[in-house]
Symmetry: C3
Subunit: 399 residues, 3 copies
């Protein structure tokens, strides 16, 4: 089967594709961030929290590590992304699933004579789920359609999870970002570690902030125009009510907020603002999502533009940090350049390393969900925390 | 130890080597397809079937995944073959064995200063079995002799499994091909999925076909002269009675059936025929084993020959499919070029993806056998299927 | 965080660093061979022996493989060393820990834009221990300091184990060498396999030799001046009493014993001798530690020097073997060139392959220790061997 066979399916708008990617009310494949509704985000966030909570004890860790020990995952990463790869692998390992990997481009060249979908069907013969990342934008989507064809034909079919395809889609990055934001705005939760940050003190001062993702002001800063991460997470945040977003980017048609995203957000009822200095808006926002300038994609003209630009406008310097609210979480999808200096790492608002760790928890939650063991996890969690602990008290410790 | 040390052992005919590769009546190393007798093929096919059957339930999958959890496998693939590699790895994972891998040629170059057999002995220090694939034809065989030397010296020794050596030997490919043929001719087996194909209906029409590998006509089509796969599987099929083989290949001294194989088959009592068009013979055969033309090995003269050749003679086009018997399984070792068009993938006779999956089951069976847990598996299988199910009814579902 | 941030810490003498690498009386990170005291070497050797002993039975292997099944290790090997990599991986697998790996330099280049310590902190988010090998001498040490900073800040922190950094440090190689020497001088131990060597007979003749590492004469032969391995193991051996060391090396300022090491050994009370022919001293030594000439580091002048040198002076030829005491173990860190001919592999004194296997046991012991399960192992070991077996009789078999 070749990609062009699926061209009519590919050409549809995303909203018409969603039904193809689920079975009854559950996701079957994960290809687009748009597959995550508010309700699914809430559910996956809760499962992620439970996995995290169970992992704090040896008993819980062992319980989790036995759930999928008879299953095997393929991590097919022909576009290198070690960070995302490791996060998926750790997620599988938490659930005890064995992993096979292809992440050496020179190994994948071996398949050159072969139709890519033949490879995918081969993998689906050996493994029970395929996590894939590819430069080819529609590869994951076509793989999902191939699996659907097999399914219809009563043949073996496995879930496809898009770990980043081309410049377009990276749904699990959006998922982990939302999970991190969920965690940030539930910081009064008794399940939070009281030792790892100053948020305990903050609970008293800002009680309303702990009530979820509605009614917040989000700031996105950096290379907004070229950032697929910002696009996805902003779209998911637009599912919430009374949301304001401030985009801080260079005034330049390629790097500022693009019209397409702006229109989508406005249509969803988001209040959209733009600014050209992070410091100017720092005192108005509940959360800052930093991104690096993707200089590797610069044309010579772009490079010249940035050479003349004042970097500090999009940098978390000490002045900006002072202006920033004391509870405002700082996120960053990493890697970073200089937009977040190292000194900030020890600030209690620096959430970007926890965000990376959240990637592991939320990918484990998604994997558990796809294998239909999310309810098993939830039952066990409730049992453990009602029997041995006070559920409201939770577990302490750094996770 | 260097290879030349074993030259006298290497220079023997294969039949004189077989005793060195077994202990009492059991295989100790797997180097040559000729090590598989009819009886061993039957036994390994049954174990593969049991592993497949057990894997259908979570309980069975967990049972299997605990059998070798305290063992470690080395997958030493200095000749890249991702497909074979993944199949072996999945086989190990089914049995819960942990894997280490070397499959990056640039990593193996690190060993350049070192005698290859020093590396093998090193691996045998860390791991409990070595699966290896190498360009060097005699590397696996020499490794087996080294292990035998250690054994005689009462030192640690582990099984060596040849995952493909040079252009010569690929015994586990032959094993999986035979297993697929066993499955194809046992399609009346109650253990077969009734949903995945039309074979249920066919049982009534062709009852004699379900009685094993004797009395059949096998067709091999494509690059017969250069195909190591065809050579191995044809030799194993010659162990069966009243077998006819039709070789469909270009009329060319390099690509047609080679005299050496022909003589071996005739000596074994096979009826050998040759043809130059698949369509002409399609209505006479019980099974078609397709192969691709290995253009990567062409000389300029070969390339010219193929440029002038009519490809369709060795292709499963729609006319050939109509001529082909309705129960005739189509196998292919993959990857394919154009000799099997994608349209055929959904035909109920297309067995080549199941063949790939069979590679995993038969390699798991072989590994179980080498660790002497085949009887454990058989006992558990009989217990499960006599207690909880009607053994004759089997388990449904797509595997 | 960048390396220079830790420059003041890096600039201290090693003895001032030791406190930073432990917590109370236990090691927290393993960066320097100097962290191993006599007492720790004894403890780790005993744990290694217990892990080896338990691995001999399926029950024991399964016990071990469940200890860390809920933990995950990162093997970050940006400097290729397949041998060391596999040894660490096998050690993790013995304890059931799941592994992730980075060992392709081209993958690590992906991190080029990123500060290396950002990568390490990311890994520490996903994994529970980091084994690392790097060309950058201070990378492992800085990573340990970064973890300490996180720890102080009540953030997640994991142990760092140096698997070889630059030309300087390779503490786990020293650990496995010492364990092999411990084993060599405890050959009267009832736990030794009586079948694998002639040491049983030797017990009667040399009873005093089995009483540990004190009062011995150690010989180091080969590229002494450039050998980091020799430097580390000699320093650890200097912890023992009444030790004599004979260094056999070419008479050349770069390849002979360096003044710095000589001074350290003399200060520790070691009797230091130098020789320029292995054969001349073979009959005086209790153990020979062979090394290869590292020709890959030769300047043109060095190459000329070696071209004119008589290799046999630093080679275990048959004359030397005859002169060597019948109980003197031969070690070699491998890979070898021609300094140990293959014929010697079957000599009962050849200990270098067992040394490699010891690397796995001693790394497993170190890992168990770092996860604080060494006492769990010791308890189980005593229980098993007092209940089911006669402790003094031990378990037979080749391990």
């Amino acid at each position: 089967m070749e990609f062009y066979h699926y061209q009519p399916l590919l050409d549809r708008p995303v909203r018409q594709k969603l039904a193809d990617l689920q079975r009854n009310e559950r996701l079957k494949h994960v290809i687009f961030a748009q597959q995550f509704s508010r309700q699914r985000l809430k559910h996956l966030g809760e499962i992620a929290d439970m996995i995290r909570g169970l992992s704090r004890t040896e008993e819980g860790g062992i319980f989790l590590s036995q759930l999928l020990r008879h299953k095997r995952a393929m991590l097919y990463f022909t576009q290198a992304s070690t960070r995302t790869f490791l996060s998926f692998q750790a997620a599988c390992q938490i659930l005890g699933m064995q992993c096979a990997e292809i992440r050496d481009p020179s190994l994948s060249s071996e398949f050159k004579g072969e139709q890519p979908l033949d490879s995918m069907r081969m993998f689906s013969s050996y493994f029970d789920i395929i996590f894939m990342r590819s430069k080819e934008p529609s590869f994951a989507e076509c793989s999902a359609y191939l699996m659907n064809d097999l399914d219809r034909n009563q043949q073996r079919s496995v879930p496809i999870v898009n770990g980043g395809s081309g410049a377009d889609e990276h749904p699990t990055q959006a998922l982990l970002d939302i999970y991190t934001i969920q965690r940030s705005f539930s910081f009064s939760s008794p399940r939070d570690s009281k030792s790892s940050n100053r948020f305990d003190d903050l609970r008293r001062s800002y009680p309303s902030l702990t009530k979820g993702l509605d009614n917040k002001t989000y700031c996105f800063c950096g290379d907004i125009g070229r950032g697929r991460t910002v696009r996805s997470v902003a779209q998911l945040l637009s599912l919430f009510s009374n949301v304001k977003m401030i985009f801080v980017a260079p005034r330049h048609p390629k790097f500022a907020l693009q019209r397409e995203l702006r229109d989508v957000l406005l249509a969803a009822g988001v209040i959209v603002e733009e600014a050209s200095s992070l410091r100017d808006v720092a005192n108005q926002v509940d959360l800052v999502y930093m991104t690096r300038i993707q200089h590797e994609h610069n044309t010579p003209d772009d490079a010249k533009f940035f050479a003349d630009l004042d970097d500090s406008l999009f940098t978390l310097n000490s002045g900006t940090m002072r202006a920033l609210r004391e509870y405002a979480a700082i996120l960053h999808p990493f890697p970073r350049n200089t937009e977040i200096p190292f000194e900030i790492d020890s600030d209690h608002r620096a959430t970007y390393f926890r965000q990376a760790r959240n990637g592991m928890w939320s990918r484990a939650a998604l994997t558990a969900y796809l294998f239909d063991i999310d309810t098993t996890i939830a039952s066990h969690y409730r049992e453990v925390f009602s029997t041995f602990h006070d559920y409201n008290q939770g577990v302490l410790g750094i996770t």
